[in-house]
């Protein structure tokens, strides 16, 4: 006889997985499906078997460390994929149609700055940096408000990239008094590109997650 777990039992499994320190919905849902399928199979073989006893037996098959190794490996792989996505986004700035506008803006900006008084051009760089950072973080804040009600590992890892690879060193660097202004300007452009790429990859991940895990957003 074909047995399908009730929605209440599936919800119990989600709760069970959460209690075993699996925080993210995308990891939980795969484990819940595994547990549910294995329990259903046991209940089909023995119709008198108890759901909770079957769950204990199925969970014991995950071994001594339970879900911890699975979660750990998933986190490692998600971080790797997320970095890969970030660099793929960053590389888009160097694709042909974009590279011309990036170069024009960068060189044009520097040509304008180099005609100004050094103090003024330095202040202009600080001002632009603050404005651009503010703009990126404002957009990030708007996107953050659209986050799912159930946390998703892929999405949170991708969001963390906004602060990657450095934030405080960046501030120290931009306000450095020892470096030539040209270097500060050049690295500022690179850092802004990375920030923008991180934002874009997070936004893409948000769209993908919405399609993949609609239940997490409800």
């Amino acid at each position: 006889m074909k047995i399908t777990l009730t929605p209440g039992q599936v919800e119990f499994l989600f709760d069970f997985v959460r209690r075993k320190y699996v925080r993210y919905y995308d990891v939980q849902s795969e484990l819940v499906d595994h547990l549910a399928t294995a329990i259903e199979e046991r209940l089909e073989k023995d119709t008198n078997a108890d759901f909770h006893v079957a769950l204990a037996l199925v969970y014991s098959e995950f071994g001594l460390f339970g879900f911890s190794r699975i979660v750990q490996e998933r986190e490692t792989q998600t971080q790797k994929s997320s970095r890969k996505m970030l660099w793929q986004q960053a590389l888009k700035f160097f694709s042909w149609p974009v590279i011309i506008s990036t170069l024009t803006l960068t060189v044009g900006g520097w040509l304008i700055l180099s005609t100004l008084e050094p103090v003024l051009s330095k202040n202009m760089i600080y001002f632009t940096w603050v404005i651009l950072m503010g703009w990126i973080y404002y957009r990030a804040h708007i996107l953050y408000k659209q986050r799912p009600s159930k946390p998703l590992l892929a999405l949170e890892t991708s969001r963390a990239n906004i602060f990657f690879p450095f934030f405080y060193p960046e501030v120290m660097f931009v306000f450095s008094t020892h470096l030539h202004l040209g270097w500060i300007y050049f690295f500022l452009v690179i850092i802004m590109m990375i920030r923008l790429a991180a934002f874009n990859s997070w936004r893409n991940m948000m769209n993908t997650s919405r399609l993949r895990y609609p239940a997490a957003f409800s």
Binding site: L5, T6, E30, D33, E61, G63, I70, T78
Partner: protein
């Protein structure tokens, strides 16, 4: 039950080979299939299977499709073109490894030695 240590190194080629034959599979299905093929002599533990699947997914060898089935979401894995290519290399490696093992454990060689 086969020696788990012997089985460990073959886990990834086994997953790739099963996915080549089945097109797409979910985690639990893979564990069942291995049990079924080997008449219960080999058992992929869940603690080994999912880290391996996630690693292969991260390396771009597997693609994932999510489907609503019964009252829950099911995650299906299938081979990407890179996964198919990797399987070919892994099967060649496996074949070479088995040949070497045969040479080492072949009684004729032992007798000759």
């Amino acid at each position: 039950m086969a020696d788990a240590q012997l089985f460990k190194g073959a886990l990834i080629p086994i997953i790739l080979k099963l996915l080549q034959n089945q097109d797409k599979m979910y985690g639990y299905e893979i564990t069942r299939k291995v049990k079924e093929i080997t008449s219960g002599k080999m058992n992929i533990t869940e603690g080994a299977l999912y880290p391996a699947l996630h690693k292969l997914e991260g390396e771009g060898l597997l693609r994932v499709t999510l489907v609503m089935e019964s009252n829950r979401q099911r995650k299906y894995y299938s081979l990407t073109p890179n996964g198919k290519k990797s399987l070919r290399y892994k099967l060649e490696d496996m074949q070479a490894f088995l040949e070497q093992m045969k040479q080492i454990f072949n009684p004729a060689i032992n007798l000759a030695g």
